[in-house]
Symmetry: D2
Subunit: 121 residues, 4 copies
């Protein structure tokens, strides 16, 4: 799948978000190195700080399925990742992160998304 | 599946946790009203506050799969849920929560786990 | 200060909350064992899960000021604490938690707020 | 105060961290535009994801004290900020963030720390 196809699928997946508080639906899709495609959406909570972003439901789903950091080739998201999710993308050593920015679809490394990263991995 | 069987499966699932920082592996299993069984594990991050507990990877996985609050009958966990996860179990209107406490397996409602709950749902 | 006075002060403090996303302003006040009174408010973030509740800004402020778990006698809040904050109140061994519930001001222990608590302290 | 002085104070403040789980003590100091200096430390919880980083206890303390986004000139930290805290530094429109990286003290803007930032402020 191309980056554009992965992003299109993330847009489609976003409809399943549970976001009754913000009504801001986010979708994320991962292409694993073995070809598997996984999905994530944001899941909010009435106590806002307890919610979980789409990138984190995606990557935690990957762990539940048996994957580990290093197994993810691409993550495509319907929006630029928040800082917290950048730290997860970094932890999982995702090779390429695809999202819309400035009106176009961009691809970034986690080092580009989190420059001068604190490194305790 | 009985509560004991669901708990036994949660124990087995815990092996897939990504918990390199605490080395504390937690597993959680949900029995949905339609009979589906789903799994969750804790996923930690080098920046500890960004981690996600097993109950939340479980329930966010349920949302990704198309389920909604009200669809979960039982959640069985390898340990007593933290307060943050109790708020999630409450949001998802889980009917029965099963976990070890005081040396035995107990079953609790979310109202029992979160008395005097703040209600903004 | 009485519980009602502490609660009244929490109501007053809530005006300082930074809650542009939910517009739900929460205030919290702690009476320390040495007589010091401390304040907290919720602080939200555009990425909702990164926000911090009033009870947690309150207790983290206490730590910055040099206090430790066991030093807090009462925490009064303008609303029932979410599960995540109950876990903090439990960690800090707060003796009494005061908040409105069912139309009156109630006082609870952390054991009452978090029954069957997971104990790794 | 110079950046080096602010960082030295953050190092000193870190001793007050409540970090019994990671034993990783972080300190943060803010110089507000009006000259006020504020402090923060990380505060952990037995349930790791409920903890709060030093930068967030610092900035939430600023809010409790009456400050708002735009009021912070410099934040100095004893370590590179995690992604979640970068999102907070961005939300608060902090002008300059000072921390050690690659063996020296660096100063960064929040735009440099969070390139292609998602903007919903």
């Amino acid at each position: 799948m191309t980056d554009a196809e992965l992003h299109a699928r993330a847009v489609s997946v976003a409809a399943r978000a549970y976001a009754p508080y913000s009504e801001y639906h986010v979708g994320a899709v991962a292409l694993m190195r073995d070809g598997t495609v996984l999905e994530g959406v944001n899941v909010e909570n009435a106590a806002y700080p307890l919610g979980v972003c789409a990138e984190r439901t995606l990557l935690s789903g990957a762990v539940v399925a048996g994957f580990r950091p290093g197994d993810v080739e691409v993550v495509a998201i319907t929006a630029s990742p928040c800082g917290g999710c950048r730290q997860w993308l970094y932890e999982f050593k995702v090779e390429r992160v695809v999202f819309p920015s400035g009106g176009e679809l961009v691809a970034r490394t986690t080092a580009e998304l989190l420059p001068d990263a604190w490194d305790d991995l």
